[in-house]
């Protein structure tokens, strides 16, 4: 992909192009609304930045909890790499981790859960446990932590830095976190209280789910990305809308805010 909009680096006069991590944070932030409450877990620099960006631009009354340390509305002063940084307690207030685990189970507190996985399948199920059979894995992943709670949240926003056929598979080898399960029939039978996955943001594109088939398809291509590239790097057939929009690049305002939050350039290093 090619980087599009630029912003002037403070004190240098040189414009710096936006990075995939910055675009993804900006794109996710546009889907966050006033009054909503989001939670996220491990390796969550992108959704943390997205949440804070939303608060500082269009959604001042949006809330987010950085699971792990459990700061509520961390000020990201500055953005860090780990969800357990003590700096996440520089925040409006704080919960404890057992509190957050409780509230994830309540099912009517958190509107949004940001999630990802080693594998994400066509129905938005996530796998962080094992590639290959669980008993005989070819790759043992770290484990799914709180991903089963995806069953109880209003909407799941998926993100990954890895848009490859190894990540985007027809069916996950292990279901750590539920998407639309095996499709419409199984999804209806499960009668979960959660709303399921809504969006998938990668360095290449933004994807969504068809309301009938519940399968993943394209919502927009990021600037400079072409459709064949995405098809080539996705392990299942994606539906494609016509016309197929281009994801708006980060605006100058978005980039300015993101770079204030992220002076270490963590989003650039992803």
């Amino acid at each position: 992909m090619t980087a599009g909009a630029t912003v002037t680096a403070p004190g240098s006069g040189e414009p710096r192009p936006w990075t995939p991590g910055e675009l993804m944070a900006a794109e996710l932030s546009r889907h966050l609304h006033d009054g909503e409450v989001a939670v996220m877990g491990t390796a969550a620099a992108v959704p943390q930045a997205a949440c804070r960006l939303a608060q500082l631009t269009h959604a001042p009354d949006f809330w987010y909890v950085a699971g792990g340390t459990c700061g509520v509305n961390p000020h990201l002063a500055p953005l860090g790499s780990s969800c357990c940084d003590v700096g996440l307690l520089r925040a409006d207030t704080a919960l404890t981790l057992p509190d957050v685990v409780m509230l994830e189970g309540r099912g009517d507190v958190f509107d949004i859960f940001f999630a990802g996985g080693l594998q994400i399948d066509a129905y938005g199920n996530c796998n962080l446990a094992a590639v290959g059979p669980w008993q005989q894995p070819t790759l043992r992943g770290p484990g799914g932590v709180g991903l089963p709670f995806l069953a109880r949240v209003r909407r799941v926003l998926l993100y990954t830095m890895s848009h490859t056929p190894r990540t985007f598979v027809e069916r996950v080898d292990f279901r750590s976190g539920p998407g639309f399960l095996g499709g419409p029939a199984e999804w209806a039978a499960a009668a979960l209280t959660g709303g399921g996955p809504q969006l998938v943001v990668t360095p290449l594109c933004t994807m969504a789910f068809d309301p009938v088939s519940l399968r993943m398809g394209l919502r927009s291509l990021h600037p400079g990305v072409d459709l064949d590239q995405v098809r080539h790097r996705t392990g299942f057939e994606l539906w494609v809308p016509d016309p197929l929009p281009v994801t708006p690049p980060p605006s100058a305002e978005e980039l300015t805010v993101l770079r204030q939050l992220d002076p270490r350039g963590i989003l650039g290093g992803l």
Binding site: C84, T96, L97, G105, R140, P142, G144, V145, P148, F149
Partner: protein, 284 residues
């Protein structure tokens, strides 16, 4: 260590979450003494606390929902042990661990999980831990997990007084709950302080001394992980571990160079202190 990690320790819990507040001084001492861990319980997200024990080949069974290094990569010891079947993995989710510790601390016979969690594949591969139970208040079957009652917990706190009253320097993660659930608790701290210093901390950030068997003063004892309120993680050292531990010879090199080759005092002087594990306060 011999006094605490005894042969009848069926379940050892290690505190810390990701590369933060891992009680590494205690974990390294387990490795130095070559003590086997029959069953290891971690917080919802373990890192070097579990992976070093796995790399050293000391763990028979592990109860966890995650062992990894977050943005730094996968856990080499965990991968090799699970893929090579040298450890028995009792995989759980965060709800089973956290509510299980609650049930353990509260003496509950079991604890049911919120409906919906059973659609993940976790309960199916761990049927000993996830069992169906009839909801006596509704016409349905739900899934329940057992109480977690560690025989021994290793937990890091920032400070403790001589009576064992300990206080966290930042997030307590599930470590406080782990201490409430464990039969015996050993707390590793950056420093032992006068009781007056502990007395000013509010309810909900401390472990009372009557739950604590021993306080081990280990400045820099979380290194290379972070100690909330004291120092940040040493990511260079963690990357060195990850690079070395990927292969068995490298793993042996790491253990010899940093653990079994010297005492914890030597580690403190030659590895933790030069990395800046003392002095700089970070966080709020």
């Amino acid at each position: 260590m011999a006094r605490f990690l005894t042969a009848d320790t069926a379940l050892l819990a290690v505190g810390g979450m990701h590369a933060h507040n891992n009680p590494m001084a205690l974990v390294r001492e387990v490795v130095r003494q070559g003590r086997r861990v029959r069953r290891l319980l971690t917080s919802p997200c373990a890192a070097l606390n579990a992976d070093l024990l796995l790399t050293a080949g000391l763990v028979d069974e592990i109860v966890t929902s995650y062992v990894g290094f977050e943005h730094l990569g996968l856990a080499p010891g965990f991968r090799r042990a699970v893929e090579g079947h040298t450890v028995r993995l009792l995989e759980c989710d965060e709800a089973a661990l956290t509510h299980g510790l609650y049930a353990g601390a509260a003496g509950l016979p079991f604890i049911p999980l919120p409906p919906g969690l059973e659609v993940s594949d976790v309960p199916g591969i761990n049927p000993d831990a996830y069992r169906p139970v009839r909801d006596p208040f509704g016409d349905r079957t739900v899934v329940a997990v057992p109480p977690l009652r560690p025989d021994l917990a290793f937990v890091h706190a920032l400070e403790a007084d001589a009576a064992g009253n300990a206080v966290f320097g930042g997030a307590a993660f599930t470590d406080r709950l782990m201490a409430l659930a464990a039969r015996r608790v050993v707390v590793q701290v950056e420093r032992v302080v006068p009781g007056e210093r502990i007395a000013v901390h509010p309810a909900g950030t401390t472990i009372p001394g009557f739950l604590v068997q021993a306080v081990v003063e280990a400045p820099g004892g979380c290194h290379p992980t972070a100690s909330h309120g004291a120092y940040a993680a040493d990511e260079d050292h963690l990357r060195e571990y990850l690079a070395l531990a990927r292969e068995p010879e490298g793993a042996a090199t790491y253990l010899r160079r940093y653990v079994t080759g010297g005492s914890e005092d030597q580690y403190r002087r030659t590895v933790a202190a030069p990395a800046g594990a003392f002095g700089a306060e970070v966080g709020r």
